[in-house]
């Protein structure tokens, strides 16, 4: 069965600092990989996704993620965070299109100090 692990429940960084949020997945084949963000009292917004091609994918608001097949990882990065990036970030996988469900990690709560 597929699973997603986000080892850091909470990350605190200062505004302007760089950021990496870690994600590892378990799957017998390379799944579709996603990062979603959830702001307080809101739903999930897609930041970026990956299935194949260049292992570094660009997303919205300056976020990028790097896929590593050897490490089964899909870490999220940002060069310089803003206080408005404070939110919960979820790494997720899906085994396919159409009816395949999404499996989420338990999220990393990012707190950006102004």
């Amino acid at each position: 069965a597929q699973s997603v692990t986000q080892p850091d429940a909470r990350v605190t960084v200062s505004e302007g600092a760089s950021l990496q949020l870690r994600c590892k997945y378990s799957s017998s084949v390379t799944p579709y990989l996603f990062w979603y963000v959830q702001y307080p009292r809101q739903g999930l917004q897609l930041l970026l996704k990956y299935y194949s091609g260049d292992p570094v994918v660009q997303g919205v608001n300056g976020f990028e993620a790097e896929f590593s097949k050897s490490n089964s990882s899909f870490h999220l990065r940002k060069a310089s965070v803003h206080w408005s990036d404070s939110a919960v970030y979820f790494c997720a996988v899906s085994m396919g299109t159409n009816a395949y469900k999404v499996i989420f990690g338990k999220g990393t709560h990012l707190h950006v100090l102004p």
């Binding site: 739903g43 917004q45 897609l46 919960v88 159409n98 009816a99 469900k101 989420f104 999220g107």
Partner: protein
Amino acid sequence: NSKVIQTPRYLVKGQGQKAKMRCIPEKGHPVVFWYQQNKNNEFKFLINFQNQEVLQQIDMTEKRFSAECPSNSPCSLEIQSSEAGDSALYLCASRDWGQDTQYFGPGTRLLVL
């Protein structure tokens, strides 16, 4: 940005009461999913539809939960007899056929007292 609409945003029910929430998927998206997100940020897949037909659902859904996606009407998720453990954020998502990305609505936050 997602155009999935969910109503109501908040729902408060007593134990044993019915709780019903609705979802309008993005226009043209035939596949609709319902997930439950608890306070520990654990997501549970509940059910999905292709147009009006149920594709997959979990056992929990079969017992107290019911859902439908009628033609030309919002999709709905109903809990027949709410329990305290049902308190959670219920997220609806939709996906176009052949596409990999699910787009989520803002959710309905259910509190069962």
